[in-house]
């Protein structure tokens, strides 16, 4: 009788073990997007400026162009044949499958936004996820009369020699000065004048 109980326990525990395994396999979930490039690889990619392309370089090539601005801006105007994927939606299934299609054809796609800075975050994110067939259009875009004006952009260019400003003359008098420390009043110590004495005579 005792032996029978023992065997029962063994079989129950084995069944449980198998159950756990089956549940584990069924709930096994792969992360949808996995980084395929390490930080170091990304850094070397950033260091070379190959990923920045001017607009002239891609004319007549009929490339895939991705617009990362918001939908409303896209509807006002956009570069011809551009596809709109706002930065916030860049990892959604629809956009990922589209990017995969582009990658599988082996074509290079180009990202642009209001300026390269806007396109940069999506580009870096996608690059790290393994979409290394993408480049940034080094342009700034803005609307004039509902038409898109695209201009080449000089990135990270200092607007002036910063140190020069310190050589300029003093600014005009400031009427209201916030957060200035009140100056301590100067104490004026009056110096008493010594009275002239009459020369003392002799006796």
């Amino acid at each position: 009788m005792k032996e029978l109980e023992k065997t029962k326990r063994i079989s129950i525990s084995t069944v449980l073990f198998i159950l756990v395994l089956v549940i584990g396999v069924l709930t096994f979930k792969q992360p949808r997007n996995v980084y395929k490039k390490t930080q170091e690889e990304t850094l070397t990619a950033i260091k070379s400026t190959d990923y920045l392309v001017h607009l002239e370089d891609i004319v007549n090539k009929n490339p895939v162009i991705i617009d990362v601005r918001s939908k409303s801006e896209y509807t006002i105007s956009h570069i011809e044949n551009a596809i709109n994927i706002p930065t916030a939606e860049i990892l959604e299934n629809k956009s990922i499958s589209l990017l995969n299609d582009v990658k599988n054809t082996g074509e290079t796609s180009f990202i642009y936004g209001k300026n390269p800075e806007e396109a940069n975050s999506s580009w870096m994110l996608l690059y790290q996820l393994g979409y290394d067939n993408m480049k940034i259009l080094n342009v700034e875009t803005h609307h004039i009369d509902n038409k898109l004006v695209v201009r080449n952009y000089s990135l990270e260019k200092p607007i002036a020699n910063y140190a020069d400003i310190f050589k300029t003359i003093a600014p005009e008098k400031i009427e209201k000065v916030k957060k200035t420390v009140p100056k301590p009043r100067k104490k004026v110590i009056p110096v008493k004048k010594k009275k002239k004495r009459k020369p003392e005579g002799g006796c």
Partner: protein, 216 residues
């Protein structure tokens, strides 16, 4: 009859269970290699990217510097020569190309200070921000507009026109005062002060000729 069959199967139950276990174990081997995102998933990183909280405006930064906020570390991600020419007060230089260098991780991987990354614009600072965020670091910010923005707002603010509201004038005055704090126009002023200083001439008391004192 049924009982007999059942008994037959039951007698082999250990074999069945053992083989099941074996199959499950083999199945584990055949599973695709587990892919894992270290530190931060792409979705979380995207959520951080969209969040405008990562930017700090130059006005707030100027206020923080002037009030000697001890919780900020300024990190200049430009190259060394640009850093040598001009940088924000008390900024440390970690060029973007060396940002993953182990020597600097002590500065960047911590949760006590707010780190403010800046370059000439947002571009390089944003890249550094993204790289460091992927490492799972905390409290990283980017100076909105970079030094160009700083120059346009604090060092050389545009004068408000007359049709602007009072707030614009207040902001302008604050920026002017902040610029003064950071040394805009100070040099020229000092010169003026030097001119103003009046030399103190200590008058030498002339000895008066005394009348010869007469004797008695």
């Amino acid at each position: 009859m049924i009982n007999r069959k059942l008994a037959k199967i039951l007698s082999k139950r250990y074999l069945i269970l053992a083989s099941l276990l074996l199959i499950a174990a083999l199945g584990l081997v055949l599973l695709p290699s587990y892919q894992k995102n270290e530190n931060i998933t792409a979705e979380d990183l995207l959520a951080k990217v969209i969040n405008p909280e990562r930017y700090i405006t130059s006005d707030i930064l100027a206020d923080n510097i002037i009030t000697n906020d001890p919780s900020i570390i300024l990190v200049d991600v430009r190259e060394v020569d640009a850093y040598a020419k001009y940088t924000l007060p008390n900024a440390i230089n970690i060029p973007l190309s060396d940002i993953l260098n182990e020597d600097y991780q002590g500065y960047l991987d911590q949760d006590r200070y707010n780190i403010i990354l800046f370059s000439n614009e947002n571009f390089k600072a944003d890249q550094a921000w993204l790289l460091l965020n992927r490492l799972g670091y905390y409290n990283l910010h980017v100076l909105k507009g970079g030094i160009n923005g700083w120059y346009n707002t604090i060092l050389n603010p545009p004068k408000p026109t007359e049709d602007m509201p009072n707030e614009a004038y207040e902001l302008y005055n604050f920026r002017r005062a902040a610029g003064l704090h950071f040394g805009v126009g100070i040099k020229a002023k000092e010169k003026k002060i030097v001119k103003k200083v009046v030399k103190r001439i200590v008058p030498k008391p002339k000895k008066k000729k005394r009348k010869p004192e007469g004797g008695c």
